[in-house]
Amino acid sequence: MSEPTIKRAGEVLRLDQVRKAFNVGTPLETEVLHGIDLSLCRGELAALIGPSGSGKSTLLNLIGLLDAPSSGELYLLGQATRDSDDEARTRLRNQVIGFVFQFHHLISAFSVLENVLMPLMIRHGKPSSADIELARGLLDEVGLSAFADKKPTQISGGQQQRVAIARALVTRPPLLLADEPTGNLDTRTAQSVFELFHRINAQFGCAVLVVTHDPRLAADCARTIQLVDGLVVSDEANPSSR
């Protein structure tokens, strides 16, 4: 059992000795994360880096409540989550977390605006005019207000990723998670998407955790967390960041 922890002021996320093993109880049992301690506060922009197979995606799935730790505890806004059921995790995902994935993952059957509205539609059905105004504002923020009625297939990869970011922000989540959001984009587009994360972080004050392979982009973040073989090997502030 972990000690009860005291919530730091503005703390959004806290991991306490989080371990994750797969194929538990079989001969193939492997532990991917070996006791991670981590915390993230409101307004922080952190990059999570590490080689392939170091456990970045697994860690992000745990933080995003898409998976549960094998041991240890994960607190979201001070609330313990390890033993909560699927329904509670689903609700927390909708209310606390915004996701941005590597492959944009917009829903092709819906327009750009509807994609941005989707988390709100999931939450309370038909969007109100205030919801629509908010979504349009976010599209404006990411520079895509002219594409609101286009289908995702009609816009470029970089634009799709911006729509995904607008979608992740529409619920005003305290925590924004991005899984290699620029991995699929060319350098210039990647740079501009990253700029957007900085701007959002400054403007909305949400905690942002970005998984990236690109050391230049990571160096741009205020904090870099390095994961190797399932352990946090370094977690430091970047003097060179803005």
Partner: protein
């Protein structure tokens, strides 16, 4: 969150998914439509056919006939200490009248389940014209009452429907066999010297050869005289509103009157048997078509669930509960069923109209106005049920795995 608001999202996603896979949706809708059209058409056809057959059968006979009880031998029971051995020869059934038939007629007239009551006297005779002879059945009737059992006036092919005052109405076959026309004289011999000469006032054709060759209609009085049953009648014909209740009503009337009551269902056992086998065949066709439609919907949705694995993963990651995903796919199943059966129902209904207008015109198929809505309801429910398996699969996806599905 109110249920209506929540379902708004499910409707929206379900409709968009269907519209997005336009080709798939179109093909399966076509499949469902063909199935529904077959079901609607065959149901209407068989229902119409059976109604027609029953109508034709009952057009020439009463629904329930009330007859005097058979004459039986009375055998005195043996006293308690002895045995009796009995050799019994069954009694010949002579022509007998129903006792107090006027009272029974009046009671039946009051019965709410019975539409028409007609006392009839019937018995055998020989019809003669010159040297030609034919065995016939004499029927003495009360024309206005009998008309409500068998609308004979509609079946007249010559003359008028007049009995009494020495007039008779005979069948077409008998007229042909004896070379009779309207106004010709016919000698009727009921045996034991009881004879009468009547004028042929009308000739009918019921379409049943046996009846057209044998029936000779007279008025009650003349038939009573010929058959030597003054003031008597041998059978009370009745019709009922609920023809398939005839069996039960007949049993009730038998208890009520103490007489024998035969329903048309009893005397047409084979016909009913044939009709029920036909209904069973139709039912089987409907069930199997329904099953193949259900499998069609299930397979299309199963493919759709796999195609949309990643999108389902994203929806789940964004906080869509399992139940919402389940409902999205159940709704798609229901919508496909509804859409397909609406088209198919229309086509089936159209086929019936085409059959009525251009078909063999042996009979008209009436379309029950509830048939198409009912087919649509059943198809919608079938669609939802068929979607259950794919929908459950979609709802159970692990979002972390589904998002990375390629």
């Amino acid at each position: 969150m109110r249920l209506a608001d929540s379902l708004w999202t499910e409707w929206k996603i379900a409709l968009r998914f269907l519209l997005d896979n336009r080709m798939q949706t179109l093909l399966i809708t076509f499949g469902i439509a063909v199935g529904s059209a077959v079901i609607v058409f065959i149901t209407a056809l068989i229902t119409g056919l059976q109604a027609n057959v029953i109508e034709r059968t009952l057009g020439t006979q009463a629904h329930i006939r009330i007859l005097p009880p058979d004459e039986v031998n009375r055998i005195l029971p043996a006293d308690e200490v002895s045995w009796s051995l009995v050799l019994e020869s069954p009694r010949a059934q002579r022509l007998r009248s129903i006792i107090n038939w006027q009272d029974i007629r009046d009671v039946l007239d009051q019965d709410t389940q019975i539409l028409a009551v007609s006392p009839v006297i019937s018995g055998p005779a020989i019809a003669r014209r010159g040297v030609a002879r034919a065995s016939v059945a004499l029927l003495g009737i009360d024309p206005p009452r009998y008309q409500r059992i068998i609308p004979l006036a509609n079946d007249l092919i010559a003359g008028r429907f007049v009995v009494g005052a020495g007039n008779a109405v005979i069948g077409k076959e008998l007229a042909r066999d004896l070379g009779l026309g309207i106004g010709d004289k016919l000698r009727l011999d009921a045996g034991e010297g009881r004879e009468a000469v009547v004028d042929v006032a009308g000739i009918f054709e019921l379409g049943v050869r046996e009846l057209d060759a044998r029936y000779v209609y007279l008025d009650l009085k003349q038939a009573q005289t010929l058959l030597d049953l003054p003031g008597g009648i041998t059978v009370i014909d009745t019709t009922v509103a609920e023809i398939f209740e005839a069996d039960r009503i007949a049993r009730r009337l038998a208890r009520l009157t103490g007489l024998r009551a035969e329903s048309w269902m009893e005397t047409n056992g084979q016909l009913l048997n044939a009709l029920s086998s036909q209904s069973m065949t139709t039912e089987m066709i409907r069930v199997f078509v329904g099953i193949s439609v259900a499998f069609g919907i299930a397979s299309v949705l199963a493919v759709s669930v796999v195609q949309r694995t990643r999108e389902i993963g994203i929806l789940r990651a964004m906080g869509s509960p399992r139940g919402q995903i389940l409902r999205v796919f159940l709704l798609q199943g229901g919508l496909l069923g509804l859409l397909g059966s609406a088209c198919g129902g229309g086509v089936g209904w159209g086929l019936v109209q085409v059959f009525n207008l251009f078909g063999p015109r042996l009979f008209e198929i009436p379309v029950d106005p509830t048939l198409v809505p009912l087919a649509m309801l059943v198809a919608t429910i079938t669609g939802v049920l068929a979607a259950a398996m794919p929908a459950r699969r979609a709802a159970r996806y692990d979002p972390a795995v589904a998002i990375r599905y390629v």
